[in-house]
Symmetry: D2
Subunit: 337 residues, 4 copies
């Protein structure tokens, strides 16, 4: 039984806590740390079978019984806590992004060298049944050489502007998942990126220095093209689709719904909206990613999403930001590592 400490008891920390206690075999959450730990959270954690709570994550790092930590704290703390955890010999599952700053990710990477620590980054979509089916079809050669990869990723509603301000911008906060999907689905690396975007959802997002709608075009090393379109608001729910097109054909995935019921009446032929947002859509992926992490610890296997994946997605994001600012395509080689 792998004993886990969770650092950060916000939304995603609780998601992982509940999914581990309910569904992840061979692992249990011993301790949860959060600087704002309060009675409500403690009560919720006890109810979910967590024995210990603390305001100081260092208690977790010092606990000899704890094998692994999940870093679910605010993004600016991901890198320093990662390094501390690695030094304490804990296996680390770190929520995405590792950091907005490439230099800090490189520090984590350096800390990992020779440490023997398993380090997994929380790109949950890699564990989703639909995206995995695209990856498998591409990998199995079902579409031949990849020509054009398209990803559509839209949130149902924008987060609060207060969050936007510290989010690192749409590319590092939202598109980062799609950048990772480009790498995962293609099995290739991005060479250059061109980003176009605008403020179409909420002018406050623009005032905060960010955009809310974007189309990002990429050239991959193989010469294939990729295009992502994002929006912070889709009235019909969380839109998560992808298409990989190649010399032999295409594989495409559409949205998942709570049921496939279709009502036909005088108004038309109507199905349900897609599942509302990431918690509904990717719950099974959250379980699976942590199960894989546990498996890589127990059976000493490489993690499925490592620090290099965490790094590359941020590098593409930084290049996209530069492209948007400078109104020109940017090569990844322009981004200093």
């Amino acid at each position: 039984m792998i004993k886990i400490g969770i650092i950060g008891a916000g939304r995603i920390g609780k998601v992982h806590c509940e999914s581990i206690m309910s569904y992840v075999k061979g692992a249990t959450v011993k301790t949860v740390a959060d600087p704002f730990m309060n009675e409500d959270t403690e009560k919720w954690l006890k109810k979910n079978g967590v024995e210990y709570t603390t305001k100081d994550y260092k208690e977790i790092l010092a606990d000899k019984e704890i094998d692994a930590v999940l870093i679910c704290s605010s993004t600016d703390t991901h890198a320093p806590i990662s390094i501390e955890a690695i030094k304490a010999g804990k296996h680390v599952f770190c929520e995405k992004p590792v950091d907005h700053d490439i230099a800090k990710i490189l520090e984590v990477k350096k800390a990992l060298e020779g440490s023997g620590v398993k380090y997994q980054v929380g790109f949950n979509r890699r564990f989703d049944h639909n995206f995995a089916a695209v990856r498998e079809a591409v990998k199995a050669g079902k579409i031949g050489a990849l020509n054009v990869l398209k990803i559509c990723s839209r949130d149902p509603a924008a987060p609060p502007v207060s969050y936007i301000k510290v989010s690192g911008g749409i590319f590092l906060d939202m598109t980062i998942h799609d950048f990772d999907m480009v790498r995962y689905l293609s099995g290739d690396e991005v060479e250059s990126v061109f980003a176009m975007g605008g403020v179409m959802v909420d002018p406050e997002i623009g005032k905060a220095g960010d955009i809310d709608t974007a189309v990002i075009t990429m050239r991959l090393k193989s010469g294939a093209l990729a295009v992502i379109d994002n929006c912070r608001r889709a009235t019909y729910g969380y839109d998560q689709r992808a298409e990989a097109f190649g010399e032999l054909g295409q594989v495409a995935i559409s949205n998942d719904c709570a049921s496939n019921a279709v009502i036909s009446d005088a108004n038309g032929v109507c199905g349900e909206k897609p599942l509302l947002f990431f918690l509904e859509r990717y719950m099974q992926a959250y379980v699976k990613e942590v199960s894989c992490f546990i498996d890589s610890i127990v059976n000493d296997k490489p993690v499925e999403v490592g620090i290099e994946d965490g790094l590359q997605a941020v590098v593409i994001g930084v290049a996209a930001k530069k492209s948007l600012e400078e109104g020109r395509p940017v090569k990844l080689s322009e981004i200093k590592l």
Copy 2:
């Protein structure tokens, strides 16, 4: 150029007239006869390029230049006019049903013997792209031996009760198309039939001695089962679907729409309703069935839907009626020919 006379200038007569003049190659409508011929109809016919109009269909039968007639008059006149036309040496395309009375259909059949006349019955669905795709899949062995055939056939709205009264009842008026589809799609014959039904759309239909909703189960000679469900009213439009299931798999067809546009918004994910009714849904089939009829005349080929098909569908309908009245399955061998 085959010269055609159309007998009956009602809705279906006009459909055929317009489709022949616009789309059927190698044929033209010379004369249209209708006892209620009036100025409006004459004007409409002229506009569509028809030279002659008359109140007396016998003028058409006497016209040496006319090669073929389309019988689009009221059902009770189909059989006698068919016989007259056959005697006059005209090829005949007769709207369905040939008659409600089996004996009268047999008279037509007898008249045809040795006549050299081409006689086609207006089962338009045999010429529809979707139903044809099911037939081809079954015939090509794609599903192996047929096990269960299902047909769903619902009209958007019930006809006037005045029509219902002379319609011969739902089985001979509406289901007759589906009975023909059972024979066409299966390539098999019906052995017995069991009908259940009710008045669910309009009590006036019940007062007129008919039902408006039915489920009819059949056993085919091969042992396969078939089931049809009918309703005189579907709020979402004309519902025309079929599924053929067999030892190797299933082939299924769904409805056609004016466009495949899907709107996703806060209310759901909605496509269009199916095409409204038979004129919209089967317009191309109307063109194709007459083109085939012309082709069978020009190239002296057997018609694709002959008098035997016209007869068998009515026999099944009569058996279904008997089944409903007597509350038991009825063998087709019980129906006197």
Copy 3:
């Protein structure tokens, strides 16, 4: 924490055991009994966290700590063990069917009177997201008065003939789920039933006195019609669909797949086959039905699927059998209770 004893460690017993230990909150399996308990099963049970195993289910009934039992033994033992369990004051979750013999179900019903025991029957489909969506649409009046209910239910492959022989026949073994769905989806009761069927999958099934393919038509008390089609073999997997059609429109559900990936290539546009069989298709429903059972115990609520539901489905099955044997529609009132 509700303590559960499972009686019967076959396939479905294990499914429930694993789902309770992994996913059902507030319940744990203390003991599993099976007359054929062996080392392998004991090992599997220990691994899943079950403390005690026994060959004698009476140990479970005698255990004061155990609140509830799941009866997953062979069908012929369901009724007698149910009665023993009720007398021992245990809440009972009994797999379907309660018995093939109506008289025995009535004995269970009698034993329940005044017992205070919760008794739930294992009709898992009532807890499926798709079927629930149909039920909700019908209940909410989305389709108005129900006119025609259609259920298609096909297994991927027939069970061994040895199983067929003790199964009670297709209607009590397989269609029984669909009979329950007719009652659940319609919110109505069956008045009469007409069954047609044949041996199309395996002649051995016929030799065992059963059929493998059937179409069953029913009239409900409201006058609405229902039709079920069954087959023991569908090459494309487990086919589980339903349509409810009414005065205002239709609600329809289709199959679920492991992913919604669609591959378009020179061969066509192809999606995955439906999920293979009931374990894959209804795993979440198995979790949900036991969770509901636990909830009805903990919060003293009526069970969602009671003995009356278990009885009625068997009554319809017996009537269907009689209909098939006698080749005529059978009223449920003909079946002696």
Copy 4:
């Protein structure tokens, strides 16, 4: 009856000829001109009811009885013949593109000023039922303000390299339809364009100085974004899809097939490939565009696709070409008119 002369008896000339003679009411083709007119073509034309043929299109322009011409000759002759026809007082339907050279299109535009001549450009997709449904939804405000427009347009197979060489390049030959669709579906104008592309289908296309696969991103005047992806080869047939996404939702269209039959078997659940290519896919649109042209002549209405539409699509194409060559986004204002 409008009398038409067709200039150019190649593939598209024949398509228009046949569709006018068969389906377009109120118009007939009197004469067809082609410098390579031969016996086979003459025979085919006679069979389709065309009275006169000639090698010299000037005969058509000189024919007082002819009201309108369809220019279906090679692209380099479109502009000069257009001008001659305008001067001869003939209404003109000109196949796309009017010319590869903006200056020549402007000359046509100038010739039209005050001429009273109807001039329609052959952007057939504007008359397609699916694209029209998107336009109507956008126009009717169903998706609110447009945010992102996506068009996927792939041919089943690349044309011969000999054609590629004189085609003006992918943007002026193939994407030009999509550029027109961007303007049509959005009801907006393009402000800037960024093109990425590559040679992925056939190296010979690259040797001919063209690309065969492209992703083109555009910013519209309203600030909305548009993205087109093209490929000269899709193994599954002609891929013609679009999505318009906005503040209230999305409208999307998919491909049309010859039938909607779906075969489920041991291999999966498979539908047909999309209709093969433009002749199959857009046949009804070809009829409709010429019918509209005739209607604009008969009823003196403005044409639905005028010279300005012909011009703007080429301007976007020229900008896309420049963007690809220079590896940067290009403003339409950079293109000299």
